[in-house]
Each structure stands twice: as structure tokens, then as C-alpha cells.
């Protein structure tokens, strides 16, 4: 498979008229794992929602392309079929629709009419993936996210990621609310995806997740921009010293609290 590249250029995004992203630049290729870190309310989740096409997020300036195709011109489902995936921080509950039906419909939407996945291979893959993620076998027959615990929802996002095999995935705080055992399982799932046909943006507050998933690049986001980029060592320094030294280095006043945005699912 040819490699893919997601290019984000000078991206500005507003929510309900308020500008949150103020010119984000980022390039992610398949085969690469990028971590985006930063204090709360600096626009990390906004970036992921804008790339996927959340109805409340308005791109006011800039471009997002996947292999030269204009992502921002696409409908949400087209973005997904083009190869993007977002593991959401607050996944929706869909009553009355089983996880298995949902996954099969999603897979078949990608494969197209006449090329649907046969039932047996689907079940086999689902069983294997759920086993790897140490999920209860009944999760396939439960309604999508309904009554799931926080940890179950996160695993379910990774289950979808692994079943759908996108080119580029964004994981929005996939570690939040997970205990250490669940975190290891989720990391195991993500690491199993690592190959030259898969690239990933991992959004997180904490270095903790990066103990289990080693990123190739680490970016720090503040005030709606990526203000610093480096290798895995940057994450370690952030863990040890916090964000103040960056603020000092860049002359940023601490105003992140004012930038706080309600994070929509």
C-alpha cells in the first residue's frame, strides 16, 4: 500500500463564533506516531473534531489535505472512507443498534456495494480483536456504548479503530479515565496497529500513556497553536517539569483558563 500523508496548514477553527485554533501546522505520514500534549483548553480536542468534521466546529481559515485531497470539502463519512478515524473522548450511545451491526455496517460502507465482508470472516476478526482488547464477548451484542463504563467506551473506540483499519487515526484523550491495567490493554491494541500503512495522532494531557506507546514526534499545543515540537524526550521533560518552562521560553502569559472550551463529544 502506498503511504499516505495528512497535511494541516494554518488551520483556524471557531466554535460558536469564538476562535479556538489560531493557525495549526502539522504533517503526519503513515508509519508515524505523533503525540500532541498541552494543558487543558488549548485546542487539542478542537483540532481533532475539526479534522473529522464535527458539526459545531467551523473552519475559518487554512487547509487540511489527505494525499492532496481537500478533507474540509468532504462530508464526515467521506473523510472516514478516505482513511481518517477519530477515537472520541465522549463517544455517542446508539440505542437499539448492536456493536456488531454497527461495525459491520461501517466496514461495508468502506468496502462498497458488492464487496461486503462475509459474515464468518467478520465474526472471526471481531472475536480476535475483542480478545486482544480483553473485552467481554457479549460486547458485540450490546447496544453501541449504551450502559458502557468509561473504560469500556475507550476500549470500544480502539476496537472500532482496529476493525476499520484507517490510514490516519486521531486518538482524543484515549487514556482519560483509564486505570493502569486498562491503559496497558488500550496501548497494546494501538501498538498492534503500528506498521508503515498506519499513522496516528495521540492527544493526551499526560506522559503516562507515552510510557506504553512511544511516539516518534511530540508536539506541544498552547493557545490554539503548536508551539514546540520534538522527539519522545520532550514528553519526558514535560512530565518532569510541567509546561511553565515553555511558557517562559515563549513569553506566554498564563491565560489558558480563559481559553477553556466546553469539550463536545
Amino acid at each position: 500500500m502506498a503511504s499516505s500523508t495528512l497535511i494541516i496548514k494554518d488551520l483556524h477553527v471557531a466554535v460558536e463564533g469564538k476562535e479556538i485554533l489560531k493557525g495549526v501546522n502539522l504533517e503526519v505520514k503513515t508509519g508515524e506516531f505523533h503525540a500532541i500534549m498541552g494543558p487543558n483548553g488549548t485546542g487539542k480536542s478542537t483540532l481533532s473534531a475539526a479534522i473529522m468534521g464535527h458539526p459545531k466546529y467551523e473552519v475559518t481559515k487554512g487547509t487540511v489535505t489527505l494525499d492532496g485531497q481537500d478533507v474540509l470539502e468532504m462530508e464526515v463519512d467521506e473523510r472516514a472512507r478516505a482513511g481518517l478515524f477519530l477515537a472520541m473522548q465522549y463517544p455517542s450511545e446508539i440505542s437499539g443498534v448492536t456493536n456488531a451491526d454497527f461495525l459491520r455496517t461501517a466496514i461495508n460502507s468502506r468496502r462498497g456495494e458488492g464487496n461486503e465482508i462475509p459474515l464468518m470472516p467478520f465474526i472471526k476478526k471481531l472475536d480476535q480483536t475483542m480478545q486482544l482488547l480483553e473485552m467481554d464477548v457479549n460486547m458485540g451484542q450490546r447496544y453501541v456504548n449504551e450502559g458502557f463504563s468509561g473504560g469500556e467506551k475507550k476500549r470500544n473506540e480502539i476496537l472500532q479503530l482496529m476493525m476499520l483499519e484507517p490510514k490516519i487515526a486521531i486518538l482524543d484523550e484515549i487514556d482519560s479515565g483509564l486505570d493502569i491495567d486498562a491503559l496497558k490493554v488500550v496501548a497494546k491494541g494501538i501498538n498492534s496497529m503500528r506498521n508503515e500503512n498506519f499513522g496516528c495522532i495521540i492527544i493526551t494531557h499526560y506522559q503516562r500513556l507515552l510510557n506504553y506507546i512511544t511516539p516518534d514526534y511530540v508536539h506541544v499545543m498552547m493557545q490554539g497553536r503548536i508551539v514546540k515540537s520534538g522527539g519522545p524526550e520532550l514528553a519526558l521533560r514535560l512530565e518532569a517539569e510541567g509546561y511553565d518552562w515553555i511558557k517562559k521560553e515563549l513569553g506566554i502569559e498564563d491565560e489558558t483558563e480563559d481559553e477553556e472550551v466546553g469539550q463536545e463529544a
Binding site: V76, S95, V97, F102, S109, Q160
Partner: protein, 434 residues
């Protein structure tokens, strides 16, 4: 003098109709008494829907003369798909007003189970029918349409399960509506002490559109410790005005569970009432509806608690599209003395278009202190965030909406006890919401 039933269908007509069918004297008298009441009684008043201009009672032909060619093998595919011909041991099929097929397994017949058309039942099991026919559940003088029904009913079935008999396989009835003569159908299901049965019925129109009248009364009697599961799928055509009244009476420790897929394309008023008469009785109603085109539909589900520690549950989910309207009235009533009872209800309407109208009215009427009661109701549109989530997995918008709608209706659809009927309901929903 009556204004509603046209001249040819006067008192004399009722008398000769009854005589022509060799009905017993008590039934003829019953019909004539009811006939008298038609013009004196008012129409029912379903909350939030005005029905005084609807035609429930005017028609030109009372019984269709047309007989279907051949047996059930000759029926159109859409009817045959409802029936598992090879395995249907307990099946009744009625074409307009005429019985065209009836079977009951020898095993059940030997145990005293009766399953036959209503006319045969009044002749061969007169005492049994007389005991329950419009005496406990629905009364002829409830209102104009029940009186009309009692006077002029022209089809239906009778199912009787004797004491201590457990019927394992579902019993099925299919009522086909074709010609313009009104289908005034009476279904009487009686489960005697400690018995159990699952009954499933289909009402289906052969025509795409017709000017018909359908008036259905179902009476469902569960005596002490009996258990009845009652499933129904209605797919009456556009233009058919339907009045549907399904009423159950549950004795001590008895249970009545309804699973109703009400998919008519014409104007419909439907009442489903469960009377929890005995202590420890249980009633559960699950209703699913879809409104489309310009049809108006009103669904009232009511559970009345008389017995102590009786439990009643109402769940109604409806999808409304185009310019149609759907009203859900849910009524939980706990009478004085019905202590330790539990009345719960949930009504939800999902609107798919700007001009669709949905309404959900939960009502709790409680005349006893030591009880539990609760209600939930909502009327809304498809949640854009849910759509976003599904689409973010690559599912096109139309398909995502389809999933949400099916999911919304699933709690009821999944309850239907016969696989073929469930499959058919899913297909009907698919067609109606497209």
C-alpha cells in the same frame, strides 16, 4: 333513526344478517340492542386528535361476495411471506369476512384448545363465547364505535385455552383486507386458569390504497395465573380508516404482554387497554408505530390497576415523517385499594421531517398511597451528534439515519414472538421510513 349507518343497513338488515348466518338467538338480540345504541352514543374522544369528520361507519356493502380463488397457496406473496406454511400447525386465515383456512394441531385439540372463526365458535361453543363476548373487556355501549361493532361485526376468531394447558408454539391469525366491505373483526382470546399461550395476528391490505373501514375489537382474558403473549402487526392501506380496540383483563397472578407493530398507512385510532383486575397481575404493552404521508394516528395505551401488587408497563416508540402526525397517550391508573402496585410508562416520538407532528402525553391517575409510578416522554429529532458519530465511521448519512431509526424501534420489534412476523415488521419499517 340513525344518521350514521346508511339506509340499507337498518334494524331489519341486522336481523336478517344474523338469521342468515344462523346465529343463536342471544347474539341476534345482542346485535339488535347494540344497533339501537349506535345513534345514541358519542364517538370515542381520543385525546388531542379530532375524529368527528372521519368515516368509521358509512359503507355500501357489508359483506364482500368475492371469494378468493384457490386455497392459501394462491394468496399473494406478501401474505404468504407471513406464514410458515410447512410448520404452521395452528393457523387461521380470513379473506375479508370469510374464513379460508383453519388448522389446529391434534395435540392441542385433544387437550381441549379451541381455535376457530368467530361464527363457528358462537354456534359450537355458544356458552363459552357468550360468557366472555363483550362482557368483561369491551362493552357494546362504551361508545358509538363499540356499539357499531357489536351490531355489525362480520368476522373474527376465537381462541380458548383450557385450564392448565401450556401452548408452546405460537398460534397465528392472518386477516386479509381486500374489497371495500368493512372488516368489522372480533377476536376473543381466553386463557383459563394456569394456562399459557402466544397469539400473533396480522392485518394486511392487498391493495395499495382503498377506501375501506376497519373496525377491530380484540378481547383478551387471562384468568387466574394464566399467561398470554399477544403480538400484532397491522399494515392496512392508505385510505383505510381504522378503529382498533384491544383490551385485556388479567385475573389473579395473570399476565398479559402485548407487542404491537402498528404500521397502517391510513388514519388510525387505536386503544390498547389492560385491566389488572386480580392481585399480583401483570400487564406489559410495547407499541411501535411509523407515520408517513398525510396520515393522522392516535394511540392510547392505558393500564388500570385494581388488584393489589399489580404491575403495569407501557413502552411506545413512534417515528413520524412527511406531513403525518402521531399522538401517544399513555395512561397509568391506580384505583383505590390497589396498594403496592407499580405503574410505569415511557413514550417517545422521533420526528424525521419539518412538517411531521409528534405528541406524547403521559398521564398518571393515582388513588392509592402505597404505590410506585413513573413516566418518561420525549418528542425530538435525530440527534446530530449521534449522526456525526456514525458517519465518522464511514457510514453515509442516510444509512446512519436508518440505523438510528431501527435502533429506536428495536425495543418493541425484538419482542415479537414469531420470527417471520418480526422479519416482516422490520421490512415494513424499512419501507415506511425510506
Amino acid at each position: 333513526m340513525t344518521i350514521d349507518v346508511q339506509n340499507p343497513f337498518d334494524q331489519k338488515y341486522v336481523e336478517s344478517f344474523s338469521a342468515g348466518r344462523s346465529e343463536p338467538e342471544w347474539l341476534k338480540t345482542f346485535r339488535l340492542n347494540a344497533y339501537e345504541r349506535i345513534s345514541q352514543l358519542e364517538l370515542p374522544k381520543p385525546d388531542k386528535t379530532k375524529i368527528d369528520k372521519w368515516n368509521f361507519t358509512r359503507f355500501t356493502e357489508h359483506v364482500s361476495e368475492k371469494a378468493p380463488a384457490g386455497g392459501i397457496e394462491q394468496l399473494p406473496e406478501k401474505v404468504k411471506s407471513l406464514i410458515d406454511l410447512e410448520n404452521a400447525k395452528n393457523l387461521y386465515v380470513q379473506y375479508d369476512q370469510q374464513p379460508i383456512y383453519a388448522s389446529l394441531s391434534k395435540e392441542l385439540a385433544d387437550q381441549g384448545v379451541i381455535f376457530t372463526d368467530i361464527l363457528t365458535a358462537v354456534k359450537e361453543h355458544g356458552d363459552l363465547v357468550k360468557k366472555y363476548f363483550m362482557t368483561e373487556a369491551v362493552k357494546a355501549d362504551d361508545h358509538r364505535l363499540t356499539a357499531f361493532h357489536a351490531a355489525l361485526f362480520n368476522g373474527g376468531a376465537f381462541l380458548y385455552i383450557p385450564k392448565n394447558v401450556q401452548v408452546e408454539e405460537p398460534v397465528q391469525a392472518v386477516y386479509i383486507h381486500d374489497e371495500n366491505a368493512p372488516l368489522i373483526n372480533h377476536v376473543l382470546v381466553v386463557a383459563d386458569d394456569n394456562s399459557s399461550v402466544t397469539y400473533v395476528e396480522n392485518y394486511i391490505s392487498l391493495r395499495e390504497a382503498s377506501d375501506g373501514i376497519v373496525n377491530i375489537v380484540s378481547e383478551v382474558i387471562a384468568n387466574t395465573n394464566a399467561k398470554i403473549v399477544y403480538g400484532a402487526v397491522e399494515t392496512l392501506a392508505k385510505g383505510v380508516t381504522a378503529y382498533v380496540n384491544r383490551r385485556g383483563v388479567a385475573g389473579k397472578d395473570a399476565s398479559i404482554q402485548w407487542a404491537l407493530g402498528l404500521m397502517n398507512d391510513g388514519n388510525t385510532v387505536s386503544e390498547n387497554v389492560t385491566l389488572l383486575v386480580g392481585d399480583g397481575s401483570y400487564g406489559d404493552t410495547k407499541t411501535v408505530v411509523v407515520g408517513r404521508g398525510e396520515q393522522t394516528q392516535n394511540f392510547t395505551t392505558k393500564v388500570i390497576h385494581f388488584g393489589k401488587a399489580s404491575e403495569g408497563f407501557i413502552l411506545q416508540h413512534g417515528v413520524v415523517k412527511d406531513k403525518s402526525s402521531v399522538v401517544f397517550n399513555g395512561i397509568g391508573k391506580i384505583e383505590h385499594g390497589a396498594s403496592k402496585s407499580n405503574a410505569q410508562q415511557e413514550s417517545r416520538v422521533l420526528m424525521l421531517s419539518e412538517k411531521a407532528r409528534g405528541d406524547a402525553n403521559p398521564i398518571l391517575l393515582i388513588d392509592e398511597d402505597d404505590v410506585l409510578a413513573g413516566h418518561a416522554a420525549s418528542v425530538g429529532r435525530v440527534d446530530p451528534i449521534q449522526l456525526y458519530y456514525l458517519m465518522s465511521r464511514g457510514i453515509p448519512k442516510a444509512e446512519a439515519e436508518r440505523l438510528i431509526i431501527h435502533g429506536f424501534l428495536a425495543p418493541v420489534v425484538n419482542q415479537l414472538p414469531i420470527e417471520g412476523v418480526k422479519k416482516q415488521l422490520i421490512e415494513v419499517i424499512e419501507r415506511k421510513v425510506k
